[in-house]
Subunit: 314 residues, 2 copies
């Protein structure tokens, strides 16, 4: 009942230690050492080298070490075993912290206050709109998107959501599909993107989409907040749309290339806020405990939870 | 049934127009014109010149045009008539926007991200604490304080509240009085001050109080957010406490002198965020409608709502 840890770009040692402590009755192996491939029953992956999970005849499940599974889907020799996503309440809370923070920063014109503070300007006439006057649209209504819409709603924003297939999100108005997208964008002042990265969503945040966002809203132009995946956005289109006024501002946690190269004009664009893909980093301890718990419940006869639908890619 | 509008520092004309439209059956007069003092039944004030409301024998009520009434309490010739505060849901929502925004900015180390963006530094290891690991303490549990604690709680913060007299604030742990204050401060990482300004609270945000805040919290030191009144804080103590590490950072919407003078070192202090006393500016239309509604209900025999307790000053 070995557990194979297959990561790239991360130090594997702390993960070995965590799983060895949580599952002391298993042997934990890594790609960098010799092991019997027939003994591997579970694999945990973060950007494993493509093909490195092939030829594991007794593999029962592959666990992603992060919320997204797009890093797995790019491997055309991925085994047939179920792929399990991380659903971590901690990660969900962190994503909502990020989304609410950045929507409030735009609502309350924090960048303008920052500039006024630098210039020692007291602008007492500054009277930002109230949250209820600003329409936030959340793309993606999975666990993260639904939690974000709920908390944005509590803060008073006029919130709606969009997803590929129809979904319920409490009191929030939801739209779905291609037809719903047009209507959703037309009522959206701040677009928050929490979509998974799939073949269908790659590049969805492009100039055609930005041009469909609401005009005449209270913030002086549409605003983009992308905390999903960098592959969802076309950065040349974001820059062009900021330049011609199609977008007023953007907050980006994710990028086409990460780390964001120093040559990117996004770093120094006055209307762009850059964060280093840490909107919702889960604590490693929480992820490890989640995966170990799933393994124990699975072996006790329960079904795996949060299994990815391969045809949809999430 | 005249209405007297008594303001200083503001243009009175739009207020005359608003009340004339809302109460077309009344005569609306201002301090700058001749009027019969016996005909004045209601006064609305924002920082009226002290003494200017004296000698109004038929005055039934004084309405403050803002959330605080400290600007009224400084007038020792204020008539005996009931003083009515503004309680405006819009103002409450705005204050909570401000409080949640600035607590999240501190939680998510937004100032560090800002500096890293300026320097084009991608700090992927940045892993801020979760909201549940950070203890926010709200001083003042009136309408504003209770709404702020509720929304901070939804965002995941570990929230408690303090008020002079014992108060209930939903699921939130509350402390009261001098004894409770010590215990409250000792568990507080981010101190949010929404107290009214009274003789008892003037200067309460001083170095003795800061020294009692929690040590060893997840933010690297205690943080102050004051969105109450400038008179609550001792600015020399804030600067000294930032200098010696008693405070880690401060967000201030209010100041001992407003507008904040260009000579104040708060403007350029790297750990201080300055906003121009606009955390919760109410819309003039909402305030006018609230006061006109109170007058109509009062004349229909209902008691005035939100009357200030003069002995407490709020």
């Amino acid at each position: 009942m070995n557990l194979l840890i297959a990561v790239s770009g991360w130090d594997v040692t702390p993960w070995v230690e965590r799983f060895a402590a949580l599952l002391p009755d298993r042997k934990v192996v890594t790609l960098g050492e010799p092991f019997d491939r027939r003994d591997v029953h579970y694999a945990v992956s973060w950007k494993h080298p493509p093909g490195s999970l092939a030829g594991l005849p007794n593999l029962a499940a592959v666990f992603s070490l992060g919320a997204g599974v797009d890093h797995l889907m790019g491997d055309d020799r991925l085994p047939e075993a179920p792929i399990v996503r991380v659903v971590d309440p901690d990660l969900t809370d962190r994503m909502s912290e990020y989304v609410v923070l950045h929507c409030l920063m735009h609502l309350r014109r924090q960048r303008r206050h920052d500039a006024q503070q630098r210039d020692k300007v007291w602008d007492a006439a500054a009277h930002p709109p109230a949250a209820r006057e600003v329409r936030v649209g959340v793309m993606g209504l999975g666990v993260l998107g639904r939690d974000a819409t709920r908390k944005l709603n509590v803060m008073g924003f006029d919130v709606a959501g969009w997803s590929r297939s129809p979904k319920n999100a409490g009191d929030i108005t939801t739209y779905s599909g291609d037809a719903g997208l047009v209507e959703f964008l037309a009522r959206t002042d701040i677009l928050v993107c929490l979509l998974p990265l799939t073949a269908e969503t790659r590049g969805i945040l492009n100039k055609e989409l930005f041009a469909r966002l609401a005009q005449g809203g209270r913030l002086g132009g549409p605003i983009l907040v992308n905390a999903g995946r960098g592959g969802l956005q076309v950065e040349a289109d974001i820059l062009a749309s900021l330049g011609d006024g199609t977008l007023k501002a953007a907050t980006l946690d994710v990028f086409e290339t990460e780390p964001l190269p120093p040559s990117s004009p996004l770093w120094s664009h006055p209307a762009v806020t850059v964060t280093p893909h840490n909107a919702a980093t889960s604590e490693a301890d929480a992820i490890s405990a989640y995966i170990a718990g799933q393994i124990r419940r699975f072996e006790a006869g329960e079904p795996l939870a949060n299994v990815v639908q391969r045809d949809l890619g999430y």
